[in-house]
Symmetry: C2
Amino acid sequence: MDKVFKWDIFEIALSGNTAGNPFTDYTIRGVFKGEQEEIETEGFYDGDGIYKVRFMPSYEGVYRYFITGNYSDAGTVTGEFEVFPAKSGNHGPVKVSNTYHFTYADSTPYYSVGTTCYVWELQSDDRIKETLESLSESGFNKIRFCIFPKHYDYNFNEPRSYPYEGTPMDNSVLTEDNFWGYTDNPKENNEWDFTRFNPGHFRHIENCIKKLGDIGIEADLIIMHPYDRWGFSKMSAYEDDLYINYIVARFAAYHNVWWSLANEYDILDKTIDDWERYAQIICTKDPYGHLRSIHNCIPFYDYTRPWVTHCSIQRQDIYKTAECTNEWRGKYKKPVVIDEMAYEGDIPHFWGNITAEEMVRRFWECAMRGGYPGHGETYMNKDNVLWWSHGGKFHGESWKRVKFLHKIMCETPGLGLTSDAKMDYMGVTAVPQDDKERENKTYFIYYYSFMQPSCKIFHIDDETEYEAEVIDTWNMTVEKAGTFKGKFKINLPGRPYMAVRLKKRRNYQ
Amino acid sequence: MDKVFKWDIFEIALSGNTAGNPFTDYTIRGVFKGEQEEIETEGFYDGDGIYKVRFMPSYEGVYRYFITGNYSDAGTVTGEFEVFPAKSGNHGPVKVSNTYHFTYADSTPYYSVGTTCYVWELQSDDRIKETLESLSESGFNKIRFCIFPKHYDYNFNEPRSYPYEGTPMDNSVLTEDNFWGYTDNPKENNEWDFTRFNPGHFRHIENCIKKLGDIGIEADLIIMHPYDRWGFSKMSAYEDDLYINYIVARFAAYHNVWWSLANEYDILDKTIDDWERYAQIICTKDPYGHLRSIHNCIPFYDYTRPWVTHCSIQRQDIYKTAECTNEWRGKYKKPVVIDEMAYEGDIPHFWGNITAEEMVRRFWECAMRGGYPGHGETYMNKDNVLWWSHGGKFHGESWKRVKFLHKIMCETPGLGLTSDAKMDYMGVTAVPQDDKERENKTYFIYYYSFMQPSCKIFHIDDETEYEAEVIDTWNMTVEKAGTFKGKFKINLPGRPYMAVRLKKRRNYQ
């Protein structure tokens, strides 16, 4: 009997019709029955006469499958396989938990600390390898990237492959001054058959998704984006829907997939009805309910829409971003992921030149309010390889501090932090989201951001003993400051980016 | 004939009644007639049987005066004096000009860069001398301070004098834990006659106002404040009005006086009607129309009130302050003075521990939007002498950068800066307030704040030649970058706190 691990992929590949257009003319679907679930999923044409159906089991034990469709005249194909416990490190897909937070399917808390590399996977094999090595070394556990290639400053090169059959425009006509001119009428310059996918393009992306999964990183897939000279952002509704069906059929079985309907949805030439229709397709066709959101340029999408599982936010103000986490949590009652709080770097673009210190400060401001921050790096360099677009190596300093923050986040009692609202006007006091932990006053992190107090006075109550620690968020140290009760003073070094953590002393008997 | 310089004080001192309460039972007033003005002003009792009337002439030439009142039975006292041109450095009182800005009476632009030392003038002679020396060395041209003594952290000592006759509470009863307990019922602990002023207290303050005037510094007098164990903040309406009349009669003739009705008006036990009444007294009794405002703790006073000449703002948000200058200018259509944007220092109080870099950044953010920033310094030190409260020496780094900013502000063509609103979402682009200068695109300062671009691209138009300068606001350097036309690039050092200034090249023939 075939074997598969829980939250891995069981795939059936079958030969089928090649006449006409196999991407649109034929169907294939599977039903997967185990003792604890029965999942129906659509398959896809993978080229060369091969149709595939994929399934991600969420339970152990024996499953039976039934493959049907007009892809061939084989009739219903059936079989069995056994699902074994998940491989070490695979905690299953991430779900929303405790309203504002996330856990993996196996209930392990997932504290998201993301980065953005828009088209890292469309670079050369060497670059991709380098990016994966950088990611492994970092603490990031989510990466945002695009399925379609990207046409934008520092990135006017060609992708390694295209999603469709056809011919891209001749990029030798691009000059320093005219490259934006080619974004308006892509149909004049490119020739694609938007009904015929290039399976190799998607197969390669799957391979990248898998490699991310292997190192514990969620793949936040950007389905549409406006930075486009090829016309992929200007397809018809029929073509868009075809595309979304195709990627859901291909990618949904990967445990680490998140769906991001768009980067900067508001500068794409689509209507709210379009976005809602895409969301409907995903909700209907993804049997695993992977996380879904949509990312703004300026106005937020209506994150109260039921299909939106979490906010995926780009800052709306260059000065105040992560500090708005409370407000957004309050408004949307969903996890707040701030995927773009500006990027560490030194490019001229106003969104791409904050310091490492400021980036780390924003990470902490966001995380201490129970939000989930995102990183990006945009340092100029002679090869025009910018992490934010291409991946490669890190050149900054903020990425090094992310693993440390993530460790602190993981030490939260219960699941997730929130901030003590009554203290908001003076900064952020992080407390556990868990009601009981909060009532019992077990855990406090006072984050001092750009402020540089030389001491702080605390007075939680008169009875409880607290173990105090001084955290240097920049230098990544945690120093014990002693055990205290009642009103007490903690000395601090008088420099920015410090925090004090108080943990209720447990009485071990 | 007596002589006086324009915008200096002509004072008449006359003996009068001492029976009863000279502060309340008698009046003295003067009328001063020159060719270009006729001013009526109230005098005051200065103790020891002496009544005084003061006058500040705004024009040169011969004046005649007429002193009347029931202070004695001398009848109308008259005389003449001649007003000579103002002494060098005395530009007269500051007025609002060009809606959002200030000039001195002689039309010299006044670009306000202030500091706060709440009770510097109530310290020892040595400390006062030290403060004046520090101020002389600095670039500050305004200082906020209180007429009443101040009871607040780091400042529980006694003032050098009290404003009233009577006996203050015994401060030996103050301990580290109880000092706030003495603010609630001051009448139980202090004995004052709120109808009998201590002229020495006010005479000393006048001396300090004069010394500030001599070094070109405006005295932004805080008339009321809540930090009080003596009861000066809890007088009756009658007593308040008596006090306001008294200080207006004494201080209004000093050219460098500004009236600040309160520090943190909203935490004083007064009503809006009270504030409006005080304002009415000042408007009626101050014949020179010195600048008037009122400073908030949390909610702003209604700065649209006609008597308010300018906003005097304390930040309402710890993260975003100076960046709101545009919004406040737009809302109130008056000069925006941000007197408290947090203080450079390292005390535990959340409002008193920003870095020097952050303070200077806020100064520039405010100034580049055509607002007027204020400084304060709160470094812990073993003598508990904090600039913000006592004056003394500076211990920080931000004050050193104020003179440099002020020099840049003074180089604005026309009067005052504003920001280019259409660029707001990406930071601040300072342009002249003057319509003609703006239409002619003569002058631009692009301030990059905490951002660290390694270059910037400019393209004002295709024809105009610009002289470009790179300004390092922290290191206080201005470096010529060359002359450019059309689209051009300016290289920057890739660190924060930089600015680029473009000046239209003048065609000298």
